[in-house]
């Protein structure tokens, strides 16, 4: 039996560095993310309510929100589907040239977006490689909403593929075998076993691709044709206002974009938390 007075537990952690790294994180995020964003809000705060609504709710601006959000959303959805197939092929099968295909996926990350925009426009224009075949079918891609959607799909793909790849690698083939030996056919195995396991990662990939598409500017402005009320995206309107020295108008639109994106991403995060509920211990 020990007579020693119990020593109060020292609050020191076994693994040090929490204070330092949290401090760094906050300072860094503040400097890089929060202060510039706060500046946008401050600038907007100088406007009267009427000025603000006039800037953010003009018909041309409303049309651009519609295009930006819908095209980004559609591009994100399409990318989930095709990105999943690309990731699946890259992870599950060995074939000659796999490394090259794998590297190709990253190209939209690396390519200057203007280059992508010009290339896509050239291909999908009436006389372009792909455009000339679509034209007789009555499908116009370049200089239409579809063009915007194509450009946003292009830049979003790597986000989905790169998010899904590690998760697919981790997915044991045994769970598919288990499903098969329990009598599930391939379709049931995919829909009831594989997709639910991948769902959180698919949501993450979607959120990343969607957020990236909302902010995309360079590639879209070449292929969209920038027709007012039809093919103008919101970032383009912001630039236009800046070029007219209407800084407050530009930041007002930016604030609306920011708040909406933030709410959407928050929603996706909540959805993701729910979809990973089985991970809790």
């Amino acid at each position: 039996m020990s007579l020693a007075v119990p020593v109060p537990q020292s609050p020191r952690r076994v693994l040090p560095g929490f204070g330092l790294s949290l401090g760094f994180t906050l300072a860094y995020l503040g400097l890089i993310v929060l202060i510039p964003l706060a500046a946008a809000f401050l600038k907007t705060a100088g406007m009267s309510w009427d000025e603000f609504t006039a800037a953010v709710a003009a018909p041309r601006v409303l049309a651009s929100y519609r295009l930006s959000f819908f095209a980004s959303f559609a591009a994100g959805l399409v990318n989930i589907f095709f990105g999943l197939i690309v990731a699946w092929v890259l992870v599950r099968y060995a074939f000659p040239g796999r490394r090259i295909v794998d590297a190709l996926v990253d190209l939209p990350f690396a390519l200057p977006t203007a280059v992508a925009g010009i290339a896509l426009t050239a291909i999908y224009a009436k006389n372009g490689w792909v455009g000339q075949w679509l034209e007789p079918l009555g499908i116009k891609v370049a200089f239409t909403e579809i063009g915007v959607f194509v450009a946003l799909t292009f830049i979003g793909l790597p986000f989905v593929v790169r998010t899904l790849q590690p998760v697919l690698l981790e997915l044991e083939p045994e769970i598919e075998e288990a499903a098969a030996s329990l009598g599930a056919n391939r379709w049931e195995t995919i829909t009831r076993v594989i997709l639910p396991e991948l769902f959180p990662a698919m949501l993450t990939g979607f959120a990343l691709a969607f957020a990236r598409a909302l902010g995309e500017y360079g590639s879209v402005v070449f292929i969209s044709g920038n027709m007012p009320m039809r093919t103008e995206i919101t970032p383009l309107l912001i630039i236009t206002k800046l070029e007219q020295y209407d800084y407050r108008g530009a930041t007002a639109i930016a604030v609306v974009m920011l708040v909406t994106s933030f709410l959407l991403l928050l929603l996706i995060n909540l959805l993701q938390k729910w979809s990973r509920r089985y991970h809790r211990i």
Partner: protein, 344 residues
């Protein structure tokens, strides 16, 4: 339902995993497929389950006389339990167990209420009542393995196949669970084949042990048969500690006259440490002279390492601690060494 496997060949590139394997698992028995890693035992199990296929043109798999070689896994009526459980993480215990019933075509699917009844009966059977709403991540390894077993049993398989069922568990849970499996098997009487690399496990619970080595079956028999009468040196060495003595000491240590537990092959004598008898050294009294090199006294049996004077071979000996105390041995003493005679 019995399992009958004939002439299975399986190669992976240049590696031969199974080289003309024949195997029969009698109806209602618990049979262990025992072998070192890489011996082909898991491949054989997977081929029986339909998760892998034998090389083209080879092999035939029959369940109770019915050829299932070309039947796909989901239609073979096989319950398969994976080493790492392979539970569906996003489903609760209940959903995992019900999976095999819920994916049945509508005509064959039991009503929702009946599925729930059956799941609860199975949960009771594997002693996991009340855990039906948990997710696999919230269970211990032993519990997960029993969920996997219940899931496999839910589809009312004719044959149960288990791949290293206790391989991922710690030693204590392993022992408990394997005894539980034995009792469980006695209760449900389902033809069961399980793969293991642990000889203790196989010898303890199986009705019959199939020992594999390098893509072939070395021996089949009851645990006592394979332990007492190993057919090959491999089996002998795989099933426990062994001393290999050169034949020249055979006359000194006493020839084993068809005695279980000892094997003479290719001029070598295979003998287990506890089948060696020690006696005080008396010149000319028979037995091989040896010098005690090490004494290990921890554990129920004393273990000694002795060196044969004639051949300088090291021999491991196990004697009871009372016997050792009677001899009063210390490191450096000389002893006589003989094969134990008599007990079976």
């Amino acid at each position: 339902m019995s399992i009958n496997v004939t002439n299975i060949h399986k190669t992976f590139g240049a590696f031969t995993a199974l080289d003309g394997v024949d195997l029969t698992v009698p109806r209602g028995k618990l049979v262990a497929l025992l072998g070192p890693s890489g011996s082909g035992k898991t491949t054989l199990l997977r081929i029986i389950a339909g998760l892998d296929h034998a090389d083209a043109g080879s092999g035939r798999i029959e369940f109770h006389g019915e050829d299932v070689t070309r039947v796909r896994a989901g239609r073979r009526k096989v319950g398969f339990v994976f080493q790492h459980y392979a539970l569906f993480r996003h489903m609760t215990v209940l959903e995992n167990i019900a999976f095999g019933l819920r994916v049945r075509p509508r005509r064959e699917r039991p009503a929702a209420g009946e599925i729930l009844d059956r799941v609860h009966r199975l949960l009771k059977l594997v002693q996991l009542e009340g855990l039906d709403a948990r997710y696999p991540n919230q269970l211990s390894g032993g519990q997960r393995q029993r969920v996997a077993l219940a899931r496999a049993l839910a589809v009312e398989p004719k044959v149960l196949l288990l791949d290293e069922p206790f391989g991922a568990l710690d030693a204590k849970v392993r022992k408990e669970l394997r005894r539980w499996l034995r009792r469980f098997h006695d209760e449900i009487q389902l033809t069961t084949l399980f793969v293991t690399h642990d000889q203790e496990e196989a010898l303890e619970i199986a009705d019959e042990v199939v020992i594999m080595n390098q893509a072939k079956i070395e021996q089949v028999g009851t645990p006592q048969e394979v332990y007492d009468r190993p057919a090959t040196p491999f089996v002998y060495q795989f099933l426990g500690n062994v001393n290999v003595l050169r034949g020249q000491v055979l006359e000194q240590v006493g020839a084993p006259r068809d005695r279980p537990g000892t094997l003479v092959a290719d001029g070598l004598i295979y003998v287990r440490p506890h089948d060696i008898e020690l006696a005080a050294y008396v010149p000319g009294a028979g037995g091989a002279a040896a010098v005690v090199r090490y004494l290990h006294l921890a554990g129920p049996q004393a273990r000694l390492s002795v060196e044969l004077v004639q051949t300088h071979e090291n021999v491991e000996v196990e004697v009871s601690r009372t016997e050792l105390a009677g001899l009063g041995l210390a490191v450096g003493d000389v002893v006589r060494l003989r094969l134990r005679q008599g007990h079976a």
